[in-house]
Symmetry: D2
Subunit: 284 residues, 4 copies
């Protein structure tokens, strides 16, 4: 099975970046199998993502990184190089709604995700059996109102212990403390059950029902300190009508939520999502 070196770059826009980077890769005999570029003309910033067939380059990832360093410095790049054999480790956090977790577990076992779910943390014990059936550890960390700080200390310890690259809030229903938002900035993905910025906060389907909207939605975004306000990765909607009760909206919502979260996570794990300020570039 071939593996790839994946180069992701964001830098001030100027002439010659593509020529320099592609020239560098060609100079090492590299074969580019997928290339994405974007110039944000307003922000004056350039984004790129290259997938290079590892066997076409006679270097390890570490050697390639070292060789690329001067190019990166020349163009003042934020950049990363990943060997796709190094699969990201994902911790999923859930509360009582299982639809997103069930969906992610299926996609993981079906080989749809370029990464591995390594454990599940929940403030309830409901999904233990299902998770353990998949051969994964399940951690029940209750989050009582007067004990949040200790609880999130334990969550942090578990995330570290599992060496998670990415944390997915798959309908976790608890607000992460600022400390975790900051420590794992750009690495925590949440699914919010509305079409943000509509209906931020609690009970979005009931808000939507009472406003009489004709579409409900879901939003996958990075978690930041400000609730439901982080960079949006993906959104989608489902059509509703006067026939539908709030319960129907919840049911439709589950389908949108899991689809949107799965796409967002997939793109994140494939290094297709580049954050810039409060927005994302998604090379889907």
């Amino acid at each position: 099975m071939s593996h790839y070196y994946r180069l992701v770059v964001s830098c001030p826009d100027r002439r010659g970046i593509v020529a320099r980077v592609s020239g560098f890769i060609a100079g090492h005999g590299g074969s580019i199998t997928e290339a994405n570029q974007h110039s944000d003309l307003e922000a004056g910033r350039f984004f790129m993502r290259y997938e290079i067939l590892a066997d076409s380059i006679g270097m390890t990832a570490a050697e390639l990184e070292e060789a690329f360093e001067p190019v990166a410095r020349e163009f003042d790049m934020d950049w990363a190089l990943r060997d796709t054999r190094r699969r990201p480790r994902v911790v999923v956090m859930v509360s009582r709604e299982s639809h997103c977790l069930v969906d992610l577990l299926y996609r993981w076992t079906a080989g749809e995700l370029e990464g591995d779910i390594v454990g599940v943390i929940s403030n309830h014990d409901d999904m233990r059996s299902m998770v353990e059936w998949h051969g994964l550890p399940y951690y029940h960390v209750a989050v009582p109102a007067d004990y949040k700080s200790a609880a999130f200390g334990e969550v942090e310890r578990l995330v570290e212990e599992m060496e998670a690259d990415t944390v997915v809030l798959a309908r976790y229903m608890q607000i992460l403390p600022p400390r975790l938002c900051e420590r794992y900035a750009g690495r925590v993905i949440n699914i919010h059950h509305s079409f943000l910025p509509s209906f931020a906060g609690a009970r979005p389907y009931h808000q939507a029902h009472s406003r009489g909207v004709k579409l409900i939605g879901a939003t996958c975004h990075y978690v930041t300190e400000e609730l439901d306000a982080g960079p949006i990765i993906e959104q989608d909607i489902h059509r509703v009508s006067h026939c539908h009760t709030p319960q129907d909206l919840v049911r439709f919502g589950r389908d949108v939520e899991k689809a949107v979260l799965a796409r967002g996570l997939r793109w994140h794990l494939e290094d297709r999502v580049l954050i810039h300020g409060n927005k994302t570039v998604v090379f889907a």
Copy 2:
């Protein structure tokens, strides 16, 4: 060409309404070609819309109305009966963006609307030639900031003179004064260029672009005194990405706006939209 008597009812929900109404119609030999019903269990309210082949009943609309009156009283109904030969008269109000008007004029001439556009009012003179080419009167009523009251007096006079049943704000870009909102309650349809309640107010595409959303939308709603807050008739969205500038969003938006407005207006003219509080029942 057959015509229909269209009966639209909203009343407190209780047993036997359908039996009473359908019995009444059957008793007069009426043939029902389309029937829609909805019980709003939360609100305890019942909604129905019947389309009756006029030739199957040996009565004029006025006679049928009179005959139905006791049934309506019995169930405390808000109701209306319309002979579809009496086509609603529509006045369109526009500002400088022509996409919605062009679309509505096409649909009218193609016979897609159960009603007739009878005139266009604008605060600019830009679309006169196009409108007049369609054989319609065009009224230019400027709305200078210090002259709004007189301007809207003139708008009101024109709407009355044209005997409009429905007024469509097809990107009119001016806020109707409370007096008109009230006088024409349930008869003025607006297209707002966002997925309400997101991005109410001015420049929604710029708001959407700066929030980095992945979908933009449009909302067709009845106009009420509170800006962009009236009962929603229809909504739809268009997918966008980091590639798209605010100008692209405007362009995509035009397509969504005209589609959403055309659907909303069509349903309104076919008596498919029943208002209840700040929501609608749409028998689409």
Copy 3:
């Protein structure tokens, strides 16, 4: 928890059906909570579905059936009455692809289906552990090429033994013999992985890829003797582009397939699908 009597009718169209049926129900004090009607003007046929609050009628389902019999005869109705406490029994048949089964099992456990999965039959043994974890029996019935007749005899025996009302071919990948198609006419639901009638038969995603289509689809339909030609219940599509390999199409397809099958099955179990010739009326 309230239960309902659900009345589903199809009959030659003529005046007075609604009045007669709703009058009958009102006469027994019945409260109708959901009503759907459709006149197929081309075919001259009328379809209806009523949901009646059981507690509002002082009769058992059997008594109501007997009382309704004369009405049904008068209008030459095909009809059925179901007490929603009697939940339909569903047998799922699968081959090696698990996505549809995983999805149906989730929906069943989440209470989204108005029926119960009572067992799984497969020509492979791969999904035994997952199915048994859900507390359901799993039957492995191999279908070797020279042994099909006996294998399908065994399938038929199992379906009978489990007293299945509905059989779902959730990517079963085997063609049912005519005998079973006929015996279970209108009760076997298949998911085909293309937008029928495009790409009937084998390997639809490869057919789609090689034709260069920009959308792929899935179709949920009743099984008839003619392959992939039975009455269609539901269809949906997913957008694809030149970037996507046949493997990507397979992956997107899985999402469409499970969504379309779930909707189709849900509607079938709620008696929302009425078959007429090779078409369906779906009161969704």
Copy 4:
């Protein structure tokens, strides 16, 4: 207003193409504002499209072409360079349905198309007044069954006289003779009113209605000698149900057709569509 040099390339895939091309552009000081690349791994073919700010290069398009020639030869490229100041000339052909033409005329006047409609040819005289109101010449070329060859001779003469780069069959309803298909290969765009390959040929909405499909579609494709079988540029669908008559399908279809044709034509005019065999690469 800035203009661009747009370089479109298709060639056998091998290492170093991007480096060579981007190096060439950087070497001439060129600033790339949009870049798209695609490797078709099955076909072993590489596709690219670069948009270069003309002012960033001190050369005319002709000089740049000459300078690029050796690079193109080295990599055996099919290629084209276009100065975006040279706007493509579009001839639209219609029959009796006006929706696509009305839509294209609006988009042209609104500045949505990177090209100019220069004239309309029709086998009927119905749309003359509307077309002439837009300031465009209208040619009525009747196509009687026993006179087709002479009629298409006249069509060809007009297309030449108007110096058309692109011919759009906007519901033209006549089959172009092989001679024209061949002469204008890759330059004639058709809108077919079904989701091809379903329902090729005549009266697709009636075919769709009688098959009982739940979605209808439209397909924008290049015209080849084989009817409705050319490379597909774009497709989309509209949801339908048992409620809808063939007339409703026709009405919904109009909306899909014009949207799909407008997208397809827009991409074609922006050099975003690269044909390869019977498929397209669309850098949308």
